[in-house]
């Protein structure tokens, strides 16, 4: 303790001395070597990445355009017998699946198009195409789809799916197909 006191007094003396005779002293003692400093940590400048939340199926659906949705053909078409407009047995599961899809997307509105094959006259086919569209709509109504969500149109024989002139082409052309017009 004494030593420290003496030492500090001595330093004080030396310092005061050196201060009093500054002008006289030519040589200045070198400054103490700088202490080795610890380097600062590198801070990464970054903003938090905005991560898109995982979309629900409904949200994915809403993002698509009507055109894109229609291209995916979520609603399968159904086919009819020659000169007939009643819903065939093989069309029932198709319409049930369509109804399910429509229930999943309750805002969707659709246009049901009725088509005929070329083996009918222009006038009668236009009426028959309408009947096909209507019976398709009625069936969807019976499956719980409100009528307000559906519209029908007949194209008669003017828009064949298959331009052929044989039974397989005709069978494809006697159809009701679905167009999504609102979502």
């Amino acid at each position: 303790m004494k030593k420290l006191l003496i030492f500090s007094l001595a330093i004080l003396l030396v310092l005061s001395f050196s201060a009093s005779c500054k002008k006289k002293v030519k040589e200045v003692p070198p400054p103490p070597a700088p202490q080795a400093q610890e380097q600062p940590k590198v801070e990464k400048v970054e903003e938090p990445v905005v991560k898109e939340p995982v979309l629900t199926e409904e949200e994915i659906f809403q993002k698509k355009t009507l055109e894109e949705i229609n291209q995916e053909k979520p609603l399968a078409m159904i086919f009819f017998d020659y000169d007939k407009y009643n819903i065939r047995e093989d069309a029932v599961p198709v319409l049930e699946a369509n109804a399910q899809w429509l229930k999943k997307h309750p805002t969707v509105k659709i246009l049901i198009e009725g088509h005929c094959d070329e083996r009918g006259t222009e006038e009668y086919n236009l009426a028959l195409g309408e009947k096909r569209a209507k019976s398709t709509m009625d069936y969807l109504i019976s499956l719980g789809i409100p009528a307000e969500r559906m519209r029908i149109i007949s194209y008669g024989k003017s828009q064949p799916l298959d331009p052929g002139h044989n039974e397989s082409a005709w069978a494809k052309n006697r159809r009701a197909q679905f167009l999504i017009i609102e979502k």
Binding site: T121, K131, K134, S158
Partner: protein, 428 residues
């Protein structure tokens, strides 16, 4: 004369029905009205040979007029070679006895001259027996109207003999030659095909008003098949109906009413409205399809198609909707009735073994005549204004084109070739 025709027709019908009884198959016969055509001499027109324009006029008008007269079935042209046996025609001094000697009843003399840049066409028509001029006309014609002036003269000739003129009338039809179904019109012989509608939507099933100033048709242009009235010479388009599918529009013969088919009440029914589309009244009440109305020439009745018995058949009802009766028999698919201008016949389409042919039902004799036999789809018949010809669409050549045929199944000719052409209408 008329009685004679009717008697002949009746007699023929009797024989044919006897044949029908024994053949038990579908009737295949042709109406032969046996009218002796009026023998008409059409010597080459006289023209100023120093004028190339007069020469061109003479050739075009002559060719079109002789085609018109031949098509008429009213006149029969005296063969050109017969004229070699008589003195050459001198318009200043006509030797009528010469013409009589080659069985000419009517002589038509045409003279063409040119004054400055105008072509003058003068027509004189003589009754050979009485040696009198019965028609004289003078026309000043621009070069692009040579065909029209020929049709005008042909119309004058028809009027002269109490026949309904139609050579200047137009046929309206649907063509896809410009990419999608649009309305077009053309002369009766297929010349002057002119586009009438210009849009990317389907325009469909046109029908003339009796004065050929308005066309009723169906268009998808507003997203729904609606009826429109097009006034081609005024550039005016008027929508008529909305809601449901609206089609098969037909003006009444007096032009005051419009019959059409609509599904606006949930099912294909026939409606009658005023010609401008106001005051719509429903005239069929049936859960079946009722369509394709066609007015009788008196306007008191309407022929139409209905499948109320299970298959489409032809019916007639009063224009107010009462007194419905079925007039077709045999066949399980009949449609597109077209009532003839004389009121006695209804042309229609019948499907047998996937072929569509035109038939004519004679309402007086109940006789059905098969008009076409082409193993094709012959559709949409429409009568000429005088009832001697029908136009229709057919795929007999591979593509759908418009054809003309006479009431007796003769003189089949194709009128169109560009793109596909269908749904022709000449009269309702």
């Amino acid at each position: 004369m008329k009685h004679k025709i009717i008697l002949t027709t009746l007699f023929l019908a009797l024989i044919m029905s006897a044949i029908f009884l024994f053949s038990q198959q579908e009737v295949v016969l042709t109406i032969r009205e046996g009218v002796p055509a009026i023998s008409l001499a059409l010597p080459p027109f006289i023209y100023d040979s120093s004028s190339p324009q007069a020469k061109q006029a003479a050739e075009t008008i002559y060719q079109v007029l002789s085609a018109d007269l031949r098509y008429s079935r009213v006149f029969q042209l005296v063969p050109r070679e017969h004229m070699n046996y008589i003195r050459p025609l001198n318009p200043k001094e006509i030797f009528f006895k010469d013409w009589e000697s080659i069985q000419t009843r009517i002589l038509l003399v045409g003279e063409i001259s040119q004054s400055q840049d105008k072509v003058i066409f003068e027509v004189k028509v003589y009754d050979v027996k009485s040696e009198r001029m019965i028609l004289g006309k003078r026309y000043q014609v621009e070069p692009d109207l040579f065909r029209l002036v020929a049709h005008r003269i042909a119309d004058e000739m028809m009027k002269l003999y109490g026949e309904k003129p139609f050579f200047t009338s137009k046929i309206v039809f649907v063509s896809n030659r410009d990419g999608n179904d649009e309305l077009y019109m053309m002369d009766y012989d297929g010349a002057n095909q002119t586009r009438l509608t210009f849009n990317k939507w389907r325009d469909y099933m046109p029908a003339w008003s009796p004065d050929q100033r308005a066309i009723v048709f169906t268009s998808y242009r507003a997203g729904n098949p609606d009826l429109y009235l097009l006034y081609p010479y005024e550039g005016k388009l008027v929508p008529v109906s909305t809601g449901g599918t609206n089609f098969a529009g037909a003006f009444s013969p007096d032009g005051k009413k419009l019959a059409f088919c609509s599904t606006k009440d949930g099912n294909a029914e026939i409606y009658v409205a005023n010609a401008d589309g106001t005051n719509v009244r429903r005239i069929t009440f049936n859960s079946a399809i009722d369509t394709a109305p066609s007015w009788s020439p008196t306007g008191r009745e309407i022929a139409f198609t209905s499948d109320r018995t299970g298959t489409p058949q032809i019916y007639i009802m009063d224009a107010e909707g009462g007194n419905v009766r079925k007039v077709s028999f045999g066949g399980d698919y009949l449609d597109s009735p077209a009532w003839s201008p004389d009121g006695e016949r209804i042309a229609f389409v019948s499907r047998v073994n996937n072929f569509f042919d035109l038939y004519i039902l004679n309402l007086k004799t109940n006789q059905i005549t098969k008009l076409t036999e082409t193993n094709a789809r012959n559709e949409s018949p429409s009568w000429s204004p005088d009832g001697r010809h029908l136009i229709f669409s057919s795929n007999m050549s591979g593509t759908i084109q418009i054809y003309s045929i006479d009431y007796d199944g003769t003189n089949l000719r194709c009128l169109t070739s560009q793109g596909e052409n269908k749904l022709p209408n000449w009269t309702n």
